[in-house]
């Protein structure tokens, strides 16, 4: 063991209580930091998982018709491009062509055409406004989590019934409908009869209370759109690739293409702000612990002035003295980070088992946490920076002490 480390360890014992308070502050600060990050990141990642499972990673929608034109002066060969407004033609007129074009993008793992509209659901002498989504079940389950969202009935029954219907759980409850019930959907003044084969729950309130799924041909018939699709829902190999890929697809196929990050920008920003806000708030615990550490080390420097002088007289350099105090900070922060991370892991585990019913933007019956090692790294980095900065100034003060004047002052 180096002499500086040995002395640092012994000096630490000189102010045990104050050191333990600083240590406790760092432990709590690190633990709370990790737990809050695990919680906010957990909710965010679960929200993303939910939203991707409902609406996919990329949507290719309306066709873009550029109104750019060329202007030229009379009698001259010189022309310039004039930017006009971009015109959008609703929907996808040739979905099969577009699906073929998407196959040229290796990042696209699956794509499915969807037709969307508005209709009134009529059952039990009541009416309810819904949004019918006509889907190709075989491909749609590859761009959504519909198969795992089914809470009653089955997709098998739906696939075998050309006029089958999958209902959102909120619609079913509101209209008091069950599997096997027959309902009418009226979109164009000609009500059509469907049978409920499954009920789904995404946890997203808006989806569960207005969206119904039916087969694509039935949807076309209901919405009186014999050709085309409202949009193509696609998934890519990795969610983070979606924005760049969306731009490339839009440029290649001439259809407005939106990645999930852009589509859910508002919610993502809310989560981001929450995460930063909680990190800043919890960091104050670590900052206060750093202040405590600073005070404790200053007191040790004052207490140990004569010992520092005698160490200097026997051959310990200013750097050695500085190292002794930096090591004290280092020992405390190392213990604080280790115990803090252990407490954080225990706290995160406990939190993930607290029952809480959440519905609205996703469905969960307990706290959702994300186990991310970077949360631990982040907390450790903040603690190390705060404590080492707090230790630097007392250590510099200790190193600057002049042994001769201290010893003479003590002797006089």
């Amino acid at each position: 063991m180096s002499p500086a480390l040995l002395i640092a360890l012994r000096f630490l014992s000189a102010r045990k209580r104050a050191m333990l308070m600083s240590l406790a502050g760092i432990v709590f600060g690190v633990a709370f930091f990790v737990v809050t990050q695990a919680q906010t990141a957990g909710f965010e990642s679960y929200f993303i998982k939910t939203i991707l499972g409902v609406n996919g990673m990329v949507r290719i929608e309306d066709r873009i018709q550029s109104t750019r034109s060329l202007a030229a002066t009379q009698g001259s060969d010189f022309t310039i491009a004039v930017e006009g407004s971009v015109k959008y033609i609703p929907g996808v007129q040739y979905p099969n062509d577009l699906l073929g074009a998407l196959k040229r993008f290796p990042e696209v793992t699956a794509a499915s055409p969807v037709i969307r509209g508005n209709a009134t659901l009529i059952a039990n002498f009541r009416e309810y406004d819904v949004k019918p989504y006509g889907i190709e079940l075989a491909s749609f389950v590859n761009v959504s989590d519909l198969d795992t969202q089914i809470i009653d009935g089955s997709l098998g029954a739906f696939s075998e019934n050309p006029y089958g219907l999958i209902l959102g759980v909120r619609i079913a409850k509101r209209m008091n409908l069950q599997i096997g019930d027959s309902v009418l959907l009226d979109a164009a003044g000609e009500p059509q009869r469907f049978r409920i084969n499954a009920i789904y729950e995404t946890g997203i309130d808006q989806v569960d209370r207005e969206r119904v799924y039916l087969h694509l041909p039935a949807g076309r018939s209901l919405l009186n759109k014999p050709v085309g699709a409202s949009f193509i829902q696609a998934n890519v190999v990795a969610p983070e690739l979606a924005p760049a890929l969306a731009m490339r697809i839009e440029e290649a196929v001439g259809h407005s293409t939106l990645a999930w990050q852009e589509r859910e920008k508002t919610w993502l920003q809310v989560f981001s702000v929450l995460r930063i806000s909680s990190a800043l708030t919890i960091s104050t615990i670590i900052f206060i612990s750093g202040l405590g550490m600073f005070n404790t080390l200053v007191m040790i420097v004052v207490d140990k002035t004569r010992e520092i002088a005698i160490l200097r007289s026997m051959g310990y350099t200013r750097e050695d003295i500085s190292r002794i105090f930096m090591l004290q900070g280092g020992i405390v922060v190392a213990c604080g980070v280790v115990f803090g991370c252990l407490a954080a892991a225990a706290g995160t585990y406990a939190l993930s088992h607290i029952p809480i019913r959440i519905r609205g933007i996703f469905a969960s019956d307990h706290f959702v946490v994300l186990w991310d090692p970077w949360h631990y790294v982040g907390a450790a980095v903040i603690a190390v920076i705060v404590v080492m900065v707090a230790s630097y100034f007392p250590s510099r003060r200790a190193a600057r002490l002049e042994p001769g004047s201290i010893i003479r002052g003590s002797s006089s």
């Binding site: 002499p3 002088a309 160490l311 200097r312 026997m314 350099t317 002797s411």
Partner: protein
């Protein structure tokens, strides 16, 4: 070659109106195996001289040679290294580190020098404590020792790296007569037996007179 040589040392203390010329051209040599005392009234400059010789202060003018090395232009780290290897200090107060045992206090200079293994340092520190009559109290903390015992631990610590020069500033000033006599005898015997030089500042004329040579100081100069 002399152990320590001092030439034309000048030192000013204080600033502005309080500035005074504490040392005025002091010069002498120290030989190994001999004991020296610096005697004089308060304010004569003897402690100022001792701290300059111990490289704990820097002279305004003049040279201090430790062996063949001139020290006035050394960096702080170099002067600290010279102290660690060639000098041992005994002060009026023992200045033991209270969180360490007597043995560990004695080992501190050796740890810094880093030339011995842990076992060798421990054995040597134990031998030194035996030499100062504390062989049975090596594991006691400084706070568990009497004033005289603490000062003897400080002497053992000063001898830890076998320095050529032991600098003592009123080493008996805080002890009763019996302990003072014992501590001085210990320092003097060790210096003679080990071939080390002892340079001691003392107010006590009786103790000073027992040294091989006495430098009498007055108003910053050594009297002839």
């Amino acid at each position: 070659m002399s152990l320590l040589r001092v030439e034309n040392l000048h030192r000013y203390l204080g600033e502005g109106d309080t500035r005074c010329h504490a040392l005025r051209g002091v010069g002498f040599t120290i030989e190994p195996g001999r004991t020296y005392a610096i005697a004089g009234h308060s304010g004569s400059g003897k402690s100022t001289l001792l701290y300059l010789l111990g490289l704990l202060d820097i002279p305004d003018q003049g040279q201090i040679w430790v062996g063949d090395r001139e020290t006035s232009r050394l960096t702080d780290d170099e002067r600290t290294a010279v102290r660690n290897e060639h000098m041992g200090f005994v002060f009026q107060f023992h200045f033991l580190l209270k969180e360490f045992t007597a043995l560990e206090n004695v080992m501190l200079p050796m740890r810094k020098l880093g030339r011995l293994s842990e076992e060798a340092m421990r054995a040597k520190a134990s031998d030194l404590l035996v030499a100062v009559g504390l062989g049975d109290k090596t594991r006691r903390l400084g706070t568990q020792l009497s004033g005289g015992e603490q000062q003897r631990v400080a002497i053992a610590r000063a001898l830890a790296n076998d320095p050529g020069l032991i600098l003592a500033d009123e080493p008996t000033g805080n002890l009763d007569h019996t302990n003072a006599d014992r501590v001085f005898a210990l320092l003097s015997d060790i210096a003679h037996q080990r071939g080390q030089a002892l340079l001691m500042v003392s107010h006590n004329p009786e103790l000073a007179s027992r040294c091989d040579h006495v430098f009498r100081m007055q108003d910053g100069v050594i009297l002839p």
